[in-house]
């Protein structure tokens, strides 16, 4: 009896050690998209309840929003919890994940991945799986991660999504010291999720004003997703602003956004479509973009200023923080400024070269 008991405890102990090691090795080898992973790790490393606003979205969020600049200009702390091509149905899981450590005054949810010209990713399983992996790899094991996988991974075996080590195991070839520092999802982001880009590409200006009245319903599944997210937000009783950051639109996408506005407002939530405000933002299509869907470092600064102004005018964000928090954010602003300055020089040089020729 004694031996049997000892063996049972031994087996339990062995299983526990194995599980801990399994989790550690899994985290270590999540290396496909370290920039998303470090963005999430930075979020988890923030002290509890120190963020005033949390942005959620795809590259349409994290490339457009510069949190250190917002801090510097207003004293509001914010963070972008975003991943490339982030599927919109992951929003509830990400809000739940955020609520574990932060209870921000405001959530800002970017909606671009609902619009049909962004659905090419959703409709290409290989590409969407790859993007989705970046997101699931950015989340430590949790019930929210399971929920997120259940909602987004369809028509395939989910085993190696839940236990991603079975998918990521070959990453041992790319192991480096950075991987160890991100292993425990607790490494502060030097620039507080800012991700500005030092590239440039001339775009053709698109004015959405003539299309204000045109409304095109979303794909059925996209609308259902949107309604589920809205219901979730209402259920959680949280303050949410839905957002579209500006890009080179077309008549179809603006008509869909108009429809989205109606749906969102029918749930009592505000929706800010920056595409209508590009002139007010001061966006210059010839210098502020690096492709038709994303702004560069100049554009990011302008969009950030505009968003900050909108938030300050429409929301009551107390923004009172300890000296330690303030010092940390000041350092983040300094780091981003330095980086942004270099990036601005690069873009300016490219522009000068283009104009010179």
């Amino acid at each position: 009896m004694k031996i049997r008991k000892r063996r049972i405890w031994g087996a339990v102990g062995f299983f526990l050690i194995f599980s801990v090691l399994f989790v550690m090795v899994s985290y270590l080898l999540r290396l496909a998209d370290t920039s998303t992973k470090s963005r999430f790790a930075g979020f988890y490393a923030e002290e509890d309840n120190t963020l005033d606003t949390v942005f959620i979205g795809s590259s349409a969020a994290y490339i457009f929003v510069v949190s250190p600049k917002m801090w510097n200009d207003s004293g509001m702390t914010s963070y972008v919890l975003g991943a490339p091509a982030l599927p919109f149905n992951t929003v509830p899981a990400l809000i739940a994940e955020s609520e574990k450590s932060q209870h921000p005054d405001l959530y800002v949810v970017e909606i671009r991945t609902l619009i049909s010209n962004d659905l090419y990713i959703k409709n290409n399983t290989k590409v969407s799986d790859e993007f989705l992996r970046n997101l699931t790899d950015a989340l430590p094991y949790s019930m929210n991660r399971i929920r997120l996988i259940n909602e987004t991974v369809t028509n395939q075996d989910k085993t190696d999504w839940f236990f991603d080590l079975f998918h990521n195991h070959s990453n041992w070839k790319n192991l480096n010291l950075d991987a160890f520092s991100l292993m425990f999802y607790h490494k502060k982001s030097d620039v507080k999720s800012a991700y500005t880009v030092a590239a440039w590409q001339k775009q053709t200006e698109f004015d959405p004003a003539p299309y204000t009245a045109k409304k095109t319903p979303l794909e059925e599944s996209s609308e259902q997703t949107l309604r589920e997210v809205l219901s979730y937000c209402r259920q959680q009783n949280i303050n949410v602003l839905f957002l579209s950051t500006p890009y080179v639109e077309n008549p179809v996408s603006i008509a869909e956004e108009n429809y989205v506005a109606d749906v969102i407002e029918s749930y009592g939530y505000p929706y800010l479509n920056c595409n209508y405000d590009y002139q007010e933002i001061g966006l210059d299509f010839s210098s502020d973009f690096y492709n038709d869907r994303h702004v560069n470092v100049f554009g990011s600064a302008k969009v950030t200023d505009y968003l900050l102004k909108y938030i300050m005018e429409n929301y009551d964000i107390p923004a009172d923080h300890t000296e330690d928090t303030a010092a940390e954010w000041n350092a983040a602003y300094a780091a981003w400024s330095e980086q942004a300055q270099d990036q601005a020089e690069t873009v300016k040089a490219a522009l000068a070269k283009e104009n010179g020729s």
């Binding site: 194995f18 080898l29 079975f166 070959s170």
Partner: protein, 522 residues
């Protein structure tokens, strides 16, 4: 369900749990249900073939057994001549039943596995005659058909030979044929060895569980870390024969020799380990074959259950057949007793090896592979006295380490050469490889573009060294037992390291192609 999948591990865990919690007299039912489910998951449509084979052989063997028993009982009071007459009469009846049964059971295998081979070859003849060609059939082999057919054949013949009485319970017999750990790739079990274990009542034994799990981990290591990694290069070289030339083929084939050993013996370790968890010890299928000093020894150590099957159910019957006896008589008359005996034994050897080749695949390259080995074995029989004389003449210390090592390397080299036939996609491909093998080295893109990059190559080399070291140690000790006697920290350290080496360094998953076992195709 692949036995190297998490699904299989979950399936095994559930089955084990059920096995040890049900009343012991129902334990074999758990195995039968699990085996049925396992087989059905591979493709429910194939159950019809295995079910038909089971039903036919069960009733056939039962009839033979009843006839033999009745004859024995009846003959007790009979006179000698009458007894002989009756015995011969029953034997004749039994032989008829046996032949009918074997014909049906083997015909399933023959039709499903060899129809297209026959059609393709017949088409060659038809095209020579300008006749319209036959189209090939869209056939898929049921899981484990080559293995369970041989198992059934052995059972039928053993019942006919009176080695044991036929099983009286159809469900029990079905379990013997379908037992899930071994249905995919064997080992080809004998009824008298396996059935007492399947139907015996087993108490939960922690050591069985532990040792079984250890063996499975070792099998996983061989399969996913070594075999599937080497396959990256082997498959590339053997899929692009025209692109390369020179000793790269020799290297790829040497890697294939190791790959196929790690693949097959890895599978055997996994299934033997799984069976051991149920307290069932399967017959060993490998005994470090690459430590063999001669080709016959190699075949006594490689795929033991198949070699012994061919020995018992093909070689002996063919050697004892009327034709063979006539050949023997004739050869002795012409060449004298000693040489005649050797020459006459060539016939059954060649038959066995041609069939062995065909068993592995319905392609001429497999036939050539079988003939190659047949000829080698005949040569080794014929030349054995010459070798002995040479050893004595040259004063070779045949038991010295150096000489033994030379013999092992030589055997490995010969096996590697034979593997060209085995691995090539066709006989012309094999001949092309032989023609290019000894030419100038040409590998566009360099060595590390062959499928394994530097990191993979480093892991492959280290893993092969581990395999070699463990194999040497296994020759001298029971590693699992020795390890179990060590401190907890060391034991757990080894187990955990092994587990994570398999998980991290294994070549598997959606980004890799390897998962199926080589012998699964046979």
């Amino acid at each position: 369900m692949s036995i190297i999948s998490l699904k299989f591990l979950a399936f095994l865990t559930i089955t084990l749990f059920a096995y040890y919690i049900v009343p012991r007299r129902f334990q074999w039912w758990v195995l039968l249900i699990a085996s049925g489910v396992f087989y059905a998951l591979a493709g429910i449509q194939y159950i019809v073939f295995v079910a038909a084979s089971i039903l036919i052989s069960f009733f056939g063997a039962k009839l033979i057994s009843e006839l033999l028993t009745r004859q024995k009982m009846e003959s007790e009071g009979m006179e000698k001549t009458e007894r002989r007459r009756r015995k011969a009469e029953v034997k004749r009846k039994c032989r008829g039943i046996l032949v009918c049964n074997l014909t049906v059971v083997i015909s399933f295998l023959a039709i499903l596995k060899y129809s297209n081979f026959a059609i393709v070859n017949f088409n060659v003849l038809l095209s020579a005659l300008n006749a319209p060609r036959l189209s090939t059939l869209d056939l898929v082999l049921p899981l484990g058909i080559s293995f369970y057919t041989f198992q059934i054949v052995a059972y039928l013949v053993d019942v006919y030979r009176g080695k044991f009485k036929a099983e009286q319970n159809l469900a029990r017999y079905a379990l013997f044929v379908l037992f899930f750990p071994q249905i995919t790739e064997g080992p080809i079990a004998r009824y008298d060895q396996l059935s007492p274990q399947l139907f015996g009542q087993k108490e939960f034994d922690y050591d069985n569980l532990r040792f079984g799990a250890q063996l499975m981990i070792w099998g996983f290591f061989k399969k996913v870390v070594i075999a599937d990694r080497l396959a990256l290069m082997v498959n590339n070289v053997y899929g692009n024969e025209a692109k390369y030339s020179g000793p790269v083929f020799l290297l790829a084939t040497a890697f294939f020799s190791i790959e196929i050993y790690a693949d097959f013996s890895g599978c055997m370790d996994i299934v033997t380990g799984a069976a051991e968890m149920f307290g069932i010890k399967l017959a060993p299928n490998f005994n470090h074959p690459y430590f063999s000093r001669t080709i016959p020894e190699f075949w006594r150590r490689w795929h033991i259950s198949l070699s012994s099957w061919f020995r018992d159910y093909v070689f002996y019957p063919v050697a004892a057949s009327g034709l063979s006896l006539k050949l023997n008589k004739g050869a002795r008359r012409f060449f004298g007793n000693k040489a005649g005996r050797i020459i006459s034994s060539c016939f059954p050897v060649l038959v066995v090896w041609m069939l062995t080749g065909l068993w592995h695949g319905a392609q001429w390259n497999f036939v050539a592979w079988g003939i190659f080995y047949g000829v080698l074995i005949i040569l080794s029989m014929v030349l054995e006295p010459v070798y002995r004389k040479l050893d004595a003449l040259l004063h070779i210390r045949t038991e010295s380490f150096g000489w033994r090592l030379f013999q092992m390397v030589r055997t490995f080299f010969i096996c590697t050469i034979a593997r060209v036939f085995f691995r090539a996609n066709s006989l012309p491909d094999a001949l092309l490889i032989f023609s290019k093998m000894f030419g100038a080295w040409r590998v566009p893109g360099g060595f590390f573009s062959l499928g394994m990059d530097r990191a993979d190559f480093a892991v492959a080399v280290v893993s092969m060294l581990i395999l070699l070291t463990v194999s040497i140690l296994q020759e001298h000790m029971n590693i699992r037992k020795r390890l179990s006697e060590r401190s907890l920290v060391l034991k757990w350290g080894v187990y955990l390291t092994a587990l994570f080496v398999v998980i991290v360094f294994g070549v598997y998953g959606s980004t890799n192609s390897g998962t199926s076992f080589i012998y699964e195709r046979f």
